[in-house]
Symmetry: C2
């Protein structure tokens, strides 16, 4: 039996929803609406918040991304909140574990097991600083996806990712090298290999889209972190691989009142609409 | 009140134990002695294993390193096993969270909170691919330590860490850049900044020790991964910062029988003895 690839499933979902929107779930207790946090324990408040956000955005979101930092910060209950949140998201909607793990092969195998076998995420973000054997165990799961960090949208993203190696920025070397891991004659790629490329460095986004036009892309940093929408739309159209544009805080915290879910829906829907030209 | 730095606490512990040994706790259910796994549930078996290893090695170990991948792979019980393991280790013994986290500032803050505020680890490993704001939140904890990945000992470690930038390998640029973050005029360093430098690339280890002679170092990869002991000893002596030489599998799985704890103690003690010349 052939397993349908993550890239195919993601493309189908994007087509079905006419959406590139990835809703990033970064549940920060300090920013949750007061009426949720005042009466309940932290874990319950976060689950209720996530449920309301998911129910309000599920028909406008192509995918969800769960930022593991915010679940770890809940302590012993973090895992069950993560599990409860995953249970709320319908099975047909791809969900990305944003944990940026990266370790020697033997350890990476255990991270991949937790992510794909235990929690049943569809894809995850991976940091490749430790090289091939730190990424391979995540790609060893047919039907799942990896978004390898290439060029991130944060202020420090250029500290090392943009250093010049053989006339090219390092992130380009990372993308070229990782693509070669999946070539015939190498092990072959079992999961879908994609990349994280922020909207804040449009030149980097262009180069990465050109190098890997068929690969899934996860684009953070549109809007708040400074990315220009029309440049991003144009760049997305230059390739055929499925693209997720992530938005976390701008959707989750669009309102701190009792209307937070409606406000979140509006923000997600506005982003979806603005990105439709990229789908044509 | 001045908080005693992690580097100072680690140096004191090393002197007290005449040891550079860091016992790496990577509890792999498949490799635990059968008499522990046959009767108990996974979480109980791992706690019992960790307890026996810790009790057998605590007077020969300068520190412990808990590899978070192996605890995550235990699922919902992983956090309580982690907590129970930390409770077994006496408070005076430094414990490193080996999670290699690295994310944008806002997320990194949550990882650091989980690591230092909730779990009370003394130090952690951090991946710096995302640059300064991904590392700073971990250094924002006085009395704690960060081991930033510089040159790792795994086969893929050279894929990106060894690329040449301005005539120098990337790992050297990472070390130089990170050291500058803590200089006067910058934010200043609140936690202790150290580095991970594997024993398998002795040239890299030498360069890193020379660049940061006062910084804590975490050295994996001695023995099994090919590092030569006498070269490593010589390099350690070239600086004054506290050094941990990590060994995980060679200690934990020295025997699969009922004598696993005694075998672990022997392996740890043999490593400790072999490293004594580096302390002079």
């Amino acid at each position: 039996m052939t397993v349908r690839s993550f890239a195919e499933r993601l493309s189908a979902r994007m087509e079905e929803t006419t959406s590139l929107v990835c809703v990033g779930l970064d549940p920060d207790l300090q920013r949750l609406p007061p009426h949720l946090t005042s009466r309940k324990n932290a874990a319950q408040a976060v689950i209720e918040f996530n449920r309301a956000i998911i129910e309000a955005t599920v028909d406008t979101a192509a995918a969800y991304k769960l930022n593991l930092a915010f679940f770890e910060a809940l302590g012993a209950e973090g895992w069950s909140v993560l599990q409860a949140t995953l249970d709320i998201i319908p099975g047909a909607v791809p969900v990305v574990a944003d944990g940026k793990r990266g370790d020697i092969g033997n350890s990476a195998r255990f991270y991949a097991h937790a992510c794909f076998d235990l929690l049943d995420f569809d894809a995850c973000t991976v940091s490749g600083y430790m090289g091939r054997d730190s990424v391979a165990p995540f790609l060893d799961h047919p039907g799942r996806g990896v978004f390898l960090l290439a060029r991130t949208s944060n202020p420090g993203g250029s500290d090392f990712q943009a250093v010049e190696y053989q006339g090219r920025p390092l992130y380009e070397h990372v993308v070229r090298t990782a693509l070669a891991w999946g070539e015939p004659g190498n092990d072959g790629e079992k999961g879908s290999l994609g990349f994280v490329a922020g909207a804040s460095d449009i030149e980097a986004l262009r180069r990465i889209r050109a190098l890997a036009p068929d690969s899934p892309l996860l684009i953070p940093g549109l809007g708040a972190q400074g990315g220009n929408s029309s440049d991003v739309l144009e760049t997305i159209r230059e390739g055929s691989g499925p693209v997720l544009v992530n938005s976390s805080r701008a959707i989750l915290y669009a309102s701190a009142g009792r209307d937070f879910d409606r406000a979140a829906r509006q923000a997600a829907e506005a982003l979806r609409t603005s990105l439709i030209p990229a789908l044509s």
